[in-house]
């Protein structure tokens, strides 16, 4: 393996993209949700549920496709509860999201225990493998990072592009934006606010579930309690950092991924200082990046606000 600067950069970028993938997927879903006006802190729960059900489906069917389906369903299960609570019951969206995180952690651990008992042998499901795209993967530095990865990552790029088109190039995107900025106006224009928000919640579940499945179906091939370990919270950060724009979310996720990849590499040099100095590197970087993007943020005006037609 090449160990020169080019080699290091290549490996770093490839690692960044890998780590960015689950964050990007979940971030895309949350982007839909937040643009439509629902703030879902329960992203962690969505991802965890997605990871669990994708594993269960893939384990019993030995089929990756069914695994993906399971992941989506798992994510949707949590996101639709949140959607129902926010859209129909108009409850506080933050507290509902937090509660669902606890619920999802409990449910997945419980079901896993039920299915496999207390065991040290690791039940495994099939995983997707890396596929090099001819020619493209030979491009120096970015080739291996973007074109010699597993199909999941290609799917993610595809979805980023698709989400960009849907959100910024179609009427659907306009409807979603209207619902999040001025639900009353959207309603008056004949757009169903609750329908739009439910659909956004559905997408959030699908994407977040896919993000969780990435862990089981691509990265690891097994499930463990709390396998997401806070990635959902980081994905929330990525959404804001990426300014709720699909490409921005991808970039932000790669940035966070790169910071993480870098800290692992710095640690291996074996300085005799506490590892925490390195472990907090990605978080510090995020704060610094935010500092340099001052004033460019715009939050959907109705984010987190329930829409009640009879109120004014």
């Amino acid at each position: 393996m090449d160990t020169g600067l080019i080699g290091i950069l290549t490996a770093l970028l490839a690692a960044s993209v890998r780590m960015a993938t689950p964050l990007t997927l979940a971030g895309l879903g949350e982007t839909f949700s937040e643009k439509s006006g629902i703030l879902n802190i329960g992203l962690e729960g969505i991802m965890l549920s997605g990871a669990f059900f994708s594993f269960i489906f893939a384990y019993y069917s030995q089929s990756i496709l069914l695994g993906l389906l399971g992941g989506c369903l798992g994510g949707v299960f949590i996101s639709m509860i949140h959607g129902y609570l926010s859209v129909r019951l108009n409850v506080d969206q933050t507290i509902a999201g937090l509660a669902l995180n606890f619920l999802a952690l409990g449910l997945t651990s419980f079901f896993f225990l039920m299915a496999f008992g207390r065991t040290t042998d690791l039940p495994e499901c099939p995983v997707v493998h890396q596929i090099a795209i001819p020619l493209l993967s030979d491009i120096p530095i970015i080739g291996p990072a973007f074109f010699n990865q597993d199909p999941f990552i290609y799917l993610t790029f595809l979805l980023v592009a698709l989400c960009y088109v849907v959100l910024h190039r179609t009427e659907w995107g306009i409807n979603i934006q209207a619902t999040g900025e001025h639900p009353r106006a959207a309603d008056a224009a004949g757009i169903s606010v609750s329908g739009t928000r439910y659909r956004a919640a559905l997408l959030n579940g699908v994407f977040g579930g896919l993000g969780g499945s990435y862990l089981t179906l691509a990265l690891l091939g097994f499930f463990m309690e709390n396998i997401t370990s806070g990635k959902g919270y980081i994905a929330l950060v990525v959404v804001i950092l990426g300014r709720r724009h699909p490409v921005g979310v991808l970039m932000a996720a790669i940035l966070v991924g790169a910071a993480e990849a870098l800290q692992f590499r710095m640690q291996t040099m074996g300085f005799g200082i506490p590892s925490q100095v390195f472990n907090m590197f990605p978080y510090v970087i995020t704060v610094l990046v935010l500092l340099f993007s001052i004033g460019k943020n715009r939050t959907p005006a109705a984010l987190g606000e329930p829409y009640i037609r009879n109120n004014r």
């Binding site: 309690e225 291996t268 506490p274 590892s275």
Partner: protein, 309 residues
């Protein structure tokens, strides 16, 4: 002591994480269940006991009439001593701690012994001359393994390059895998871990890249038979059995105890499919060192704070 054998004692176990972690906590629970079978004792356990909850967990079990309460992790040491003052009848044990009192004992496993030997094996197996080890949280019970591992590896091959990192978590499997990938990118061809669940990610990384890895806690060969050279075993079950036996026989005394290869608590697993691949000279060296460590003629250095390479 035969009279106390008749008494049916109650033993409780506190775990800091999920009992279902396939590692550190799972083996401890297995020990408890073994003890239950062997001695016919009554047992109970609690998982996910946080630092904030450990004292109340000790108190609750003590008040419920348990005779022996084991906290599986260094952080249980101090609360055990504190609660021990109030329940002088009850025996407390913390594993990997260094707190003790009249009725509180700390049992420390000399896993550095396994780390040292593992370093030798790994260094001998590496073709690239680069090896890597991933730790979970940076705590003494992990650090001492890694530091001994580094010394062992250097003793086998002085030009060996050792990559080490701590992922700061025992649960984040994806992080463990990425830490390993970072090492693979830097040419490491044998990877070790002492990171519990997160370590499984390390094994997965090696497996995916067709490289070698070592296991930890229990014989992890089953996870990746073609990848795992050998595992460092901590017979926590044995430890638990030892402790329960002491209590049952009324021989329990507070204090700090080290248990290692000599007590059958620390060991290396068989090589399984690597039996033929590990050079005979290395196998011989490891075997003789094991003997020396067990009979006390060789002491592996105990370093509990991270040093620079």
């Amino acid at each position: 002591p035969s009279s106390s054998l008749a008494r049916n004692i109650k033993v409780a176990l506190l775990l800091s994480g999920p009992a279902n972690d396939g590692g550190w906590n799972a083996v401890a629970l297995k020990g408890l269940k073994d003890a239950e079978k062997k001695f016919g004792i009554e047992t109970a356990y609690t998982e996910h006991v946080s630092v904030a909850d450990s004292e109340s967990a000790f108190i609750d079990y003590a008040a419920q009439g348990y005779d022996l309460i084991i906290g599986h992790g260094f952080q249980f040491g101090e609360p055990a001593v504190r609660v021990g003052k109030r329940f002088s009848r009850v025996k407390f044990v913390a594993i990997e701690s260094n707190f003790s009192s009249k009725n509180t004992a700390s049992f420390r496993m000399s896993i550095e012994q396994a780390g040292y030997l593992m370093g030798i094996i790994v260094a001998s197996m590496s073709e690239t001359g680069v090896i890597g080890i991933v730790g979970g949280m940076e705590v003494p019970s992990i650090v001492k393994y890694i530091e001994a591992y580094k010394i062992g590896a250097k003793s086998q091959r002085s030009d060996i390059k050792i990559l080490e990192s701590y992922v700061g978590t025992f649960t984040d499997v994806a992080k463990g895998k990425e830490a390993a990938m970072a090492m693979i990118d830097q040419n490491a061809d044998v990877l070790s871990h002492i990171a519990n669940q997160a370590g499984t990610g390390v094994i997965k990384a090696a497996q995916a890249k067709g490289l070698m890895a070592t296991g930890d806690s229990w014989d992890q060969n089953v996870i990746a038979p073609k990848t795992i050279i050998c595992s460092a075993l901590y017979h926590v079950p044995t430890l638990v059995l030892n402790v329960v036996k002491l209590v049952k026989e009324g021989n329990f005394k507070g204090g700090i105890y080290n248990q290692g290869m000599e007590d059958g608590v620390v060991a290396l697993s068989p090589f399984h499919s690597f039996e033929s691949k590990v050079p005979a000279s290395v196998k011989k060296k490891v075997a003789s060192l094991t003997k020396k460590i067990s009979n006390g003629s060789f002491t592996v250095p105990l370093i509990e704070k991270r040093t620079s390479n």
